[in-house]
């Protein structure tokens, strides 16, 4: 084994030009009577990990299937690497790597054989040995697909998506069914892939995964895009919460008058303040002025999870309004 198989770059960027790697414009896909994807527009930048989030049935997989050229949109356009997906399917198969949700290999195909096989499909593939070691599968080279664990299958699937040295990798439900340990390892791997210059579109319904990995995320709900931003910005928009037990009685009006504060409420002996901006500093300033010592202080930053719950609730309310 060579000194450090990870040091050589996995991909060589063929076209390092700026501009979106993929753009989706007013995409619509219909299944029977339902619109699975309804007016979705997205723009994915080169070199980012772009997350597509949403509950089951939100249209995530359908959207990436259109980007990957596996499904024809009913209307709207999809441009990938500057090429229209509909008329350039062949060229794009060469340059886009896809990891499909729940796709298996023949039971008796060995790991090494699978990589050699898929390498032979591409003009300029990555070295299978290097990918094997990058994904920690070197020792499994002679193992049949049927005898691999869930995590090993998932890693092999990622390796096969990367073997053609794609400029764009689409990974659908990457870590579903993995144990926490394998999930973390897979995340590290995706970051490494991004660092090597591959743009990644990640479909997931795990908020934690999106928060950890994604540079930007799009939230999908009932076939609509309801938000696109960085995970931090989406979370921050939802604000913060600080709660504490005052050492002596406190007039809540003083807190309510702060511009940063949205609501103040009592929870037994505790006081709970919700708000946004520099909430913690503003609340602390009032406590110092009033000479109240806060005990057992807890500060909660809103997460992407909270943002998601709030945004989908809004979307549901709007939809209910419209149908009324």
């Amino acid at each position: 084994m060579s000194a450090n198989p990870l040091s050589a770059p996995l991909t060589l960027l063929r076209d390092p030009a700026a501009g979106p790697v993929a753009s989706v414009d007013r995409l619509r896909v219909r299944y029977g009577d339902t619109l699975a994807v309804n007016d979705v527009s997205l723009s994915i930048n080169r070199g980012e990990i772009f997350g597509i989030l949403g509950p089951n049935g939100a249209g995530k997989t359908t959207t990436v299937e259109c980007i990957g050229g596996l499904r024809r949109p009913d209307s709207g356009s999809v441009t990938v690497l500057g090429l229209d997906v509909r008329s350039n399917a062949k060229e794009l198969r060469e340059r886009v790597g896809i990891q499909l949700q729940a796709s298996e290999l023949p039971d008796k195909l060995r790991v090494g054989e699978a990589l050699e096989l898929f390498a032979s499909f591409y003009r300029d593939p990555a070295d299978p040995e290097r990918l094997l070691s990058l994904l920690g599968l070197t020792e499994k080279r002679e193992t049949r697909f049927a005898n691999l664990s869930g995590g090993q299958r998932q890693r092999l699937s990622i390796a096969l998506a990367l073997i053609g040295r794609p400029e764009l990798a689409i990974l659908d439900e990457l870590t579903t069914g993995l144990d926490p340990q394998s999930r973390r390892e897979t995340w590290k791997l995706i970051e490494r892939i991004r660092d090597e210059g591959v743009t990644v579109i990640l479909v997931t319904h795990f908020m934690e995964e999106a928060e950890y990995l994604c540079d930007r995320v799009a939230l999908l709900h009932h076939g609509h895009v309801i938000a696109v931003d960085t995970p931090a910005a989406l979370g921050a928009g939802m604000g913060e919460r600080i709660s504490f037990r005052p050492a002596r009685p406190l007039d809540l009006e003083a807190l309510r008058q702060l511009p940063e504060v949205r609501t103040v409420s009592r929870d037994g002996e505790r006081i709970v303040v919700d708000g946004s901006g520099d909430l913690v500093a503003a609340v602390m300033a009032v406590l110092v002025r009033e000479r109240v010592v806060p005990e057992q202080t807890e500060i909660e930053q809103s997460t992407l999870d909270d943002a998601f719950v709030a945004l989908t609730a809004d979307a549901n309310a709007n939809a209910a309004e419209e149908t009324r």
């Binding site: 990957g68 050229g69 596996l70 062949k90 198969r93 060469e94 886009v96 896809i98 499909l100 729940a102 796709s103 298996e104 290999l105 023949p106 008796k108 195909l109 090494g112 054989e113 050699e116 096989l117 898929f118 390498a119 032979s120 499909f121 591409y122 003009r123 300029d124 593939p125 070295d127 299978p128 040995e129 096969l160 053609g164």
Partner: protein, 257 residues
Amino acid sequence: MSTTTIAVGSRSHGFRRLMLTELRLFLREPLLLFWGLLFPVGLLVVLGIASPSKPEHSLGGLRLIVVYTPTVMMFTLTILSISALPAALASYRDKGYLRRLSTTPVGAVRLLASQVLIVLGLATCVVILLLLVSHFAFSVPLPREAGGFVLAVLLAACATTALGTLVAAVAPSQRVAAAAGSLLFFPLMFFAGLWLPQAEMGTGLRDFSHYTPLGAAIPAVQNATAGHWPGTVHLLVLAGYAVALCAIAARLFRWDR
């Protein structure tokens, strides 16, 4: 073993690798090797040893082993193309492997092509082996009309692989494909004379059998063996099945679950 491939990828390179890989996978199925390769040869040997060495009047003055050799050839064709082929294709679809391949430059159509070519190749090997065994062990004459023999066997192989592909096309799952394959096996092989040689069938039954895919192959092969060009009707029946079944299979084939 350390294999470092400096692969210069190209479509033809990919197809060759796909063929090689599929062949390997085929050879890793012991049941298939038994029924498709060993059993037909064994059957021929047992029949050759057990059957009377005198020509029989009821078989048109031919020895039983001479009559059975083409039937055993059709047996191999049937096992490989009606049982093995649809089971493999349907399982690949169930697993999402066909769909996975369709995202690569090589595409899923080439996988289907490689499967069909492997079945045809293996069937050819077994047919040659059966010819040699029957000839050298039991003095069955080699086909005197070699061209007609090759054409008849080839058309029969095309018809059966097309039927196998059609089974894979319409079967909703691997399980159904396997069941349909074995259900089709019995009537197909009955009309090919596995249980009752065509010569011993009643006139009506025999005439009918000549319009079934394998039943038409038998007289075509027998004629070629005896030194005549196979009957046009039999060849047309085989070609008709091959073309029609191919067309239907191509229309109905689903690449996706």
